[in-house]
Amino acid sequence: MKTRQWQGRYPDSQRGRLGILGAGHIGPVVARLALGAGYPVDIAASGDPEDIALITELIVPGARPRWASDAAADADIVVLAMPLHRFLDVDPGLLSGKLVVDAMNYWPASDGRLSVFQDPVSEDGAFEDGAGASSSEIVARRLAGSRVVKALNHIGYHELEDQARPAGAKDRKAAGVAGDDPDAVDAIARLVDQIGYDPARVGGLAAGRILQPGGPVFGVTLNLPEFKRVVQEHARSLT
């Protein structure tokens, strides 16, 4: 195993090991950003780490390819970066006691419907204000032993890396964070900050729907004042 050297502004204790579950679109992007910020990173797909060894070496250099169960067991923070339907196959026991980032989206118009997440969202599968649970609440229900924070889901994977900027940069953008556990939200807000975004706390997991497909900030990158303004305008439009 390669020992990572890094000199960050934060003590080591604030950069726990990330276990990223998913080596498709968003997983490698989050992995690279986290490695760049000094986090040790394990990455796993659904099968044998040998299958993603080349991907890891060339696309996520510095990360370790692992079995999902090993990546989860060793992680301080687990990032769910698989397609949502694959999440349904994950054993919640693997994530028990873990701080979990839900970077997944329920996006019927793009990925098809899943009855578990349809509950009790509007009939056409679109996001509807005031109706039903957020997708992260449904994820959290299945992960009763974990602390779940929604983050890193609403900026397109191809933009997430292009738009990352160091703290204080004039053109830095904001990324939303939602969760019910204040310490967990703090930890993920710090992660978001360290990988290049101003964390925008939008509230609990229920408020995470602001970050979902159909929500006002999904698929857009805004700076923090713009982000807050858009979220406030959205809240006013509901009253």
Binding site: I55, L58, F127, G156
Partner: protein, 352 residues
């Protein structure tokens, strides 16, 4: 000067529904007839490949691109013709093989196939497939397609279509397997799959800096080695429009780009496109190839080099543009952009 004949240049369309000069949409039928003319004209302008992407919407009324390609084949002799892409997961690989082998026969060996998901999902409910099964469907069907391409009787068994037992699938191809690619939109696992099956790698880049895909080309090369295969080409596909000047190209393209992405944003639940983002995407680091021949040529040369790609396919136009402005764009692409890219690549290569 260095030999740049290794490079080829294509045009792709999704059957973007045309409008007349006043902005009134033309019929689906007229749009399809215009695509035939555009394909024939592309050959005259010196373009190497003409691709048609499968779509099933009012603004992309193009579900049977192979039929349109056959019409173009009958009126051309040199240009290569293919899908861009065939949504294999919601199709039958045997039928796809038969249709493109028939096109290959009509065109005397000019057919190609790009397999992928594309960006449209309408074919799944239309043909009774579940998008959640996408990966499984694609993997199994692409594997069968690779078997069919070898020619000769096929024995195959899977879960997504009935088994084949020593089945002779016709028509036979007289000039070897049809060149086949897998379209990849950013998932490295798809790159590995293309290498495993022995298909070319088609990088479909519609946003962000294309150069970030460079590691994918290297991943493809290394994966081919790992699977014991010889080198296979990398293709880059990106949207755009060529006109006499940057200003004119943007003025013709942006309003239609804005309209269609606003519509798609509403359908899919993401934010509307902004003029700022469009400007960035049209600039030197973005993924839109919109501008004068010189601007577009420079950007193509830069990105082919960055990606180690030998083919560039421009997805030209947008729904709502006129047939005339598309023909002008095709002419400029064929007569000015392509020769200029070759020149730039030769100069760069010679300077090394």
């Amino acid at each position: 000067m260095t030999d740049t004949s290794v490079y080829t240049f294509g045009l792709d369309t999704f059957g973007d529904r045309n409008a007349d000069a006043s902005g009134t949409p033309l019929s689906h039928a007229q749009t399809i007839r215009n695509v035939v003319e555009e394909g024939v004209f592309a050959e005259q302008a010196g373009v190497d490949f003409f691709g048609i992407g499968e779509h099933h919407t009012d603004y992309f009324p193009m579900p049977a691109g192979d039929v349109v390609l056959a019409a173009i084949a009958a009126r051309t002799s040199r240009i290569r013709l293919g899908s861009a892409v065939t949504v294999l997961s919601s199709d039958d690989p045997v039928r796809v093989f038969q249709r493109y082998s028939t096109l290959n026969a009509i065109s005397s060996g000019r057919a190609e196939v790009i397999l992928g998901r594309g960006s449209s999902i309408e074919s799944f409910p239309l043909f009774g497939y579940d998008l959640a099964d996408y990966e499984k469907l694609f993997d199994e069907k692409a594997t069968l397609f690779a078997e069919l391409l070898k020619g000769g009787p096929v024995t195959w068994e899977g879960k997504t279509r009935p088994a084949l037992l020593n089945q002779d699938v016709v028509p036979h191809n007289e000039s070897g397997p049809i060149p086949t690619w897998i379209g990849v939109g950013g998932n490295p696992e798809s790159v590995i799959r293309a290498a495993r099956l022995g298909f070319g790698l088609a990088l479909a880049i519609i946003g962000g800096n294309p150069a970030r895909f460079a590691p994918y080309s290297e991943l493809f090369r290394r994966a081919l080695e790992k699977f014991g295969r010889g080198p296979l080409p990398v293709l880059m596909h990106a949207p755009g429009h060529v006109a006499a000047t940057d200003e004119q190209a943007k003025a013709e393209f942006w309003p239609r780009y804005r309209d269609i992405f606003t519509l798609v944003a509403a359908e899919r639940g993401f934010a509307n496109p902004t003029a700022d983002r469009f400007e960035w995407e049209s600039g030197p680091d973005g993924a839109l190839f919109v501008g004068s021949p010189e601007t577009v040529a420079r950007k193509i040369a830069t990105n082919l080099r960055a990606l180690g790609a030998t083919r560039f396919d421009l997805k030209y136009g947008m729904p709502g543009m006129t047939h005339d402005s598309l023909l002008t764009g095709i002419e400029l692409y064929g007569r000015e952009v392509i020769p200029r890219v070759r020149e730039l690549l030769a100069t760069e290569a010679a300077a090394v």
